[in-house]
């Protein structure tokens, strides 16, 4: 059973990175909207796992995407931040009961799942675009990018997560 978890997560890691760098980085909708979908890895990652390992894996996830898209290292910092904040976000969305053994992500109400995903995306994009622009003179540009790209990412992530819905995990 444990090896199955490893296998699924490794496949997910590779597929999400490839989908991100080969497809989503080339969408360029309106010239600048490239949705970020590899956040789904963190969304799907089992809850009852060692937190330090999770943070290290997220670091490498962001780093891999960064190397592919020549954005060293905005993705890394952003992914790392949401990996560290994930328990807090989950407590905010699902209340304390996510810590119980019986909690399942896909058994939670739809609106709670959406809030969870949206929070991950918004925090990720805030860190990402702040680091990318790296200049608070362009504050409006940062806000515009966060808002528009977050909506696009959320839309695509919802589509993907319902397409590959997780039945037997968590």
């Amino acid at each position: 059973m444990a090896s199955k978890y490893y296998f699924i997560n490794i496949v997910r890691f590779i597929m999400l990175v490839l989908a991100q760098v080969l497809i989503c980085n080339n969408i360029n909708f309106w010239g600048f909207i490239n949705p970020i979908i590899y956040i789904l890895f963190l969304y799907w990652y089992p809850i009852k796992q060692n937190r330090a390992v999770f943070i290290i894996i997220s670091f490498f996830l962001g780093f891999t995407v960064d190397i592919f898209s020549d954005t060293l290292a905005f993705n890394t910092a952003a992914t790392l931040t949401i990996a560290y904040l994930r328990p807090t976000i989950m407590r905010f969305c699902f209340g304390v009961n996510f810590e119980f053994q019986s909690f399942r992500l896909n058994a939670a109400p739809r609106i709670q799942q959406l809030t969870y995903l949206a929070l991950l995306i918004v925090i990720h994009h805030t860190v990402f675009f702040t680091l990318e622009v790296f200049n608070f003179d362009n504050f409006l540009l940062i806000l515009k990018k966060i808002l528009v790209v977050s909506i696009a990412s959320l839309f695509l992530c919802i589509l993907l997560s319902s397409l590959f819905s997780v039945k037997k995990e968590n």
Binding site: F59, S69, T71, L72, A77, Y84
Partner: protein
């Protein structure tokens, strides 16, 4: 002592997070201030290999358009050759046929990863140091300039596009010797800005902008674009000109890398001149 160990144990996730965040911020600051690190970029064997493989599939979809572009370029070059055979004095603005042929050598390459929607854009090419490509060579397309080689690995290289906040090239108005700096304000991927052209120079919309002579990277008179609009900068003493590029930055495939064979000599001269003062 016990308390310190306990503290580390209790906060090990926070400490791990801060440590890794520090690493990524160090990379970020480095990438904003100077060339990105030698290995961690899209020109290494792994990322280059992935892009090359997928590009091998997707490049077939655009073959017809790419062929048309290359035929157009051939036609233009062919016209110059034919005219030149009858009239030796015709001015030539092509590198390949210029009398400076010995000063510049050309390597052809293909783009395997293009990017134009970020604030700092980099392009990956399918040739690297094994094909003779080195850092700081100029890259052009059939239509105009594209950027400068920033990193090379054995088989791939990475170009700092002109659509990059770090890009700063020498450019001039056609048929004059007034030159300025070519920069990008990150707003539109088909428009770049030319600054530092003095106010007294008469310019008008539609004028052509070429690369200038003050650079050892590009030969003089490589086309860049035409003036789209212009205004004065904050100091009111020089123009800030918007240039619409000849290249469609979102649709590029074949590029040429220019190697200035005299560059080492030129740079030695320049550094000797500055050191001598």
């Amino acid at each position: 002592m016990q308390q310190i160990i306990n503290f580390i144990f209790r906060n090990k996730n926070l400490l791990l997070y801060l440590f890794l965040l520090f690493i990524s911020l160090a990379f970020t600051i480095q990438s904003h201030s100077y060339h990105q690190s030698k290995f961690f970029n899209s020109a290494n064997w792994l990322t280059g290999g992935v892009y090359k493989t997928t590009n091998g599939i997707f490049s077939y979809f655009n073959l017809e358009k790419e062929n048309q572009k290359l035929v157009d370029e051939n036609m233009r070059l062919r016209r110059i050759i034919i005219n030149n055979e009858y009239n030796e004095e015709v001015a030539i603005d092509s590198v390949a046929l210029d009398s400076t042929l010995l000063d510049f050598t050309i390597i052809s390459a293909k783009i395997i990863k293009n990017s134009y929607s970020n604030l700092d854009n980099y392009i990956t090419l399918n040739k690297g140091s094994k094909d003779g490509i080195k850092q700081d060579m100029g890259v052009i397309t059939p239509n105009g300039i594209l950027g400068i080689i920033e990193n090379t690995s054995g088989k791939f290289s990475r170009v700092q596009s002109i659509l990059n906040r770090k890009s700063n090239l020498n450019a001039k108005l056609k048929n004059t010797d007034n030159f300025g700096s070519l920069i990008w304000d990150t707003k539109d991927f088909n428009t770049v800005q030319l600054i530092d052209i003095p106010r007294r120079i008469p310019i008008k919309v539609g004028d052509t902008i070429l690369t200038g002579a003050a650079s050892s990277i590009f030969p003089e008179n490589i086309p860049i674009g035409t003036i789209k609009s212009f205004g004065l900068d904050v100091s009111k003493s020089s123009y800030r000109i918007n240039i619409s590029l000849f290249n469609d930055m979102s649709n590029l495939k074949n590029v040429y890398i220019i190697n200035n064979t005299n560059r080492v000599v030129l740079e030695e001269l320049e550094s000797a001149a500055t050191n001598g003062k």
